[in-house]
């Protein structure tokens, strides 16, 4: 699950929404939190609908057999309604599917969805803050761009991992 948080957190930080101006980190932070809340609600709604469909005898077999297709179409419609990017829809569909495979119980699934969304929000907030700080640092041109972004993501990942081990 930790891999899910870091990889999808980084993916959404890079392509998840229309890029906010780095010069205004507060605006970006609000967007990150709103995005995480949207992500949690989208995944939760998908999981809840899937649980209902699996619970009904008439739709049980179809829901199980065509889970990916169902998750995908439902998330696509939801993300179009929310005017989200394609990455958001693909990430929500994939995370919903992974959680449904790991946790058949709805409550456990929702708590996992909450943990993933909160983790992604934390990761993206740290990432945004560090990118903002980089604006005032003398970063050598040779590591500007992807090298420094990957380094930042690696350091945040290490820190969150250590914090997680301390707490749990």
């Amino acid at each position: 699950m930790y891999f899910l948080i870091i990889t999808f957190g980084l993916m959404l930080a890079m392509r998840g929404s229309r890029p906010a101006r780095l010069e205004k980190p507060g605006e970006g932070g609000v967007r990150v939190l709103r995005g995480a809340a949207d992500f949690f609600l989208t995944v939760s709604l998908t999981l809840a609908l899937w649980t209902v469909l699996v619970a009904c005898e008439a739709t049980q077999t179809t829901a199980r057999e065509y889970a990916i297709l169902g998750f995908g179409i439902f998330n696509y419609l939801l993300s179009r309604y929310q005017k989200k990017t394609e990455v958001f829809f693909l990430a929500a569909a994939t995370v919903s599917f992974v959680i449904s495979v790991k946790q058949a119980d709805l409550l456990n699934g929702l708590s996992l969805a909450w943990a993933v969304s909160a983790g992604m929000a934390l990761f993206q907030t740290c990432f945004l803050g560090l990118r903002y700080k980089l604006l005032f640092s003398r970063v050598p041109p040779s590591i500007k761009g992807w090298p420094v972004l990957c380094l930042l993501a690696a350091f945040i990942s290490l820190t969150l991992w250590s914090l997680g081990r301390l707490v749990f």
Binding site: L69, Y76, L90, F97, W146, P147, L151, A153, A154
Partner: protein
């Protein structure tokens, strides 16, 4: 390229299974590019995007049913597709089938696929050696592949004969 690798990092397979997965992704990418290149004009208005995503989902479902490969690979295909493909503002130009642009377009896509496969296999090889042979614990978590990716990005950016 790196964003396309990220979904594969969620399920770290061994070398052979990664090879099989990445081969499928690259073959599927080439098939998708060819399919939509030839049929793009048949999708009116803004129906190209939904058609593309439905295509991805149907294939993800089929592959999951047959091989139990998690559907994260469709994200890799999405990131490897040409940027202009899903841009609503870009209109498809009329290109003659036997013009010079066609081989160039497909050659670029072929290179993207081969480059992606090489990148993924390099990352997997480094992880296998570092985690299993050398026992470096940082490779048990995402920080490992992010550090390797940072090193590769640095080397790529500062290649001695790169364009200035």
């Amino acid at each position: 390229m790196f964003l396309a690798y990220l979904p594969l990092a969620v399920f770290p397979f061994d070398f052979i299974r990664t090879g099989a997965a990445v081969s499928w992704i690259v073959l599927f990418l080439w098939g998708t590019v060819a399919f939509f290149w030839f049929t793009r004009r048949f999708f009116p208005g803004r129906s190209l995007k939904p058609a593309f995503f439905l295509w991805l989902l149907v294939w993800a479902q089929a592959v999951w049913t047959l091989t139990k490969l998690p559907p994260v690979w469709i994200l890799s295909v999405f990131f490897l597709m040409p940027v202009s493909f899903l841009d609503d503002t870009v209109k498809a130009r009329r290109i003659r089938l036997f013009s010079k642009e066609v081989p160039r377009y497909f050659f670029e896509r072929a290179l993207a696929g081969i480059g992606f496969a090489g990148f993924v296999m390099t990352m997997t090889l480094v992880r296998e050696i570092a985690e299993k042979r050398l026992g470096i614990q940082v490779f048990d978590q995402p920080a490992g592949f992010l550090l390797v990716a940072a090193a590769l990005a640095f080397l790529w950016k500062n290649q001695p004969y790169g364009k200035r």
